[in-house]
């Protein structure tokens, strides 16, 4: 928290070292979150890139009141939501029929390379309702508190909690091949 505040202060002064530190610190988490939410590697790359660019542009007005990771994760979630709405990328299909979210072959210009575990996880997450997927990924990958998730989804705290628990149970069943 203190380090993040210092980094943001340095970023406001135009420090490239601060930007590099923030980027390296949160890049993987944000990519993981973006893949889980957007269910598409290319879209995830675009989302994270856009979030970082916006963050840099608005750094001068930015006042950190909570966790920087939570803030960036929320930005990713907003953008992923917009992408999903606009492109209708995500389709609800049975797990067996679901295609790969990330192509197994790797291109040299490719930024994000998902592991097999990540692909499997993203496929399973794609089968959950949006609200449950958001609750799970924002809490486990974005580090958001349930109160923050409830605010993000504009629902009471108990609803956010039940979405998380319900989604997790369903996810477990999917991964265990029970569904």
């Amino acid at each position: 928290m203190l380090e993040d505040k210092f980094l943001i202060w340095k970023l406001r002064q135009g420090s490239s070292a601060a930007l590099c530190r923030i980027y390296e610190k949160y890049r993987d988490d944000l990519l993981r979150l973006a893949v889980s939410l957007a269910n598409d590697t290319a879209a995830a790359e675009d989302i994270v890139h856009d979030v970082f660019v916006c963050f840099i542009r608005q750094a001068r007005q930015f006042r950190l009141t909570g966790s920087l990771k939570s803030y960036l994760a929320t930005c990713v979630a907003h953008r992923a939501r917009n992408v999903n709405r606009a492109q209708h990328v995500r389709r609800v299909v049975p797990l067996d029929e679901a295609g790969d979210v990330a192509t197994p072959s790797w291109r040299p210009d490719q930024w994000l390379v998902c592991s097999e575990e990540m692909r499997q996880m993203a496929r399973a997450l794609a089968l959950l309702p949006d609200e449950q997927r958001e609750a799970i990924t924002l809490h486990l990958q974005g580090g958001l508190k349930f109160r923050e998730i409830a605010e993000f989804q504009h629902v009471p705290l108990k609803t956010a909690l039940s979405r998380y628990r319900g989604g997790l149970t369903k996810l477990r069943a999917l991964l265990n091949g029970e569904v």
Binding site: Q58, M118, M121
Partner: protein
Amino acid sequence: MRSLRDVKRSVAQAPVHVGRKADDAMLEHLLRELPASEESSTGRPTQVRRPVMRPMAYAATVAIATAVVAWLVFAGRAPENQQFATVAPASTSGIALLTEISLERAFRRGGIEAVESQCRKALAAPTGKRVTPSLEELLAELAGNEKDMGGKSS
């Protein structure tokens, strides 16, 4: 069978990797955005604030430096003033210079050297010579007094 804990861990820590070249290119692109954000984005902050802040910073620095110098100067003088205040004004009398109080003050002021110096000064000081009038002077004075008294009575 995965437990709930395994599922949570998998979701939270599912490994992702980044292509090295693409990652470097991405970072370069973001770094290029950095100076652009200072100029374009939303307005004033640095460009407008700096001209105002700089003179203020200079003025504050000068004020602080002046205050520190003044403090050092006066603080450096203060003990001297204090010492001068405690030491008795220089006396030409050898006896006064050799009194216990005078020597003690001299010692406080400059240690044993000051005491030695004061002692030398006391010994060198002119001893008070008693002036004894001659007989003629006494008679002349007496005669003068009588004249005055006679003049007054007559």
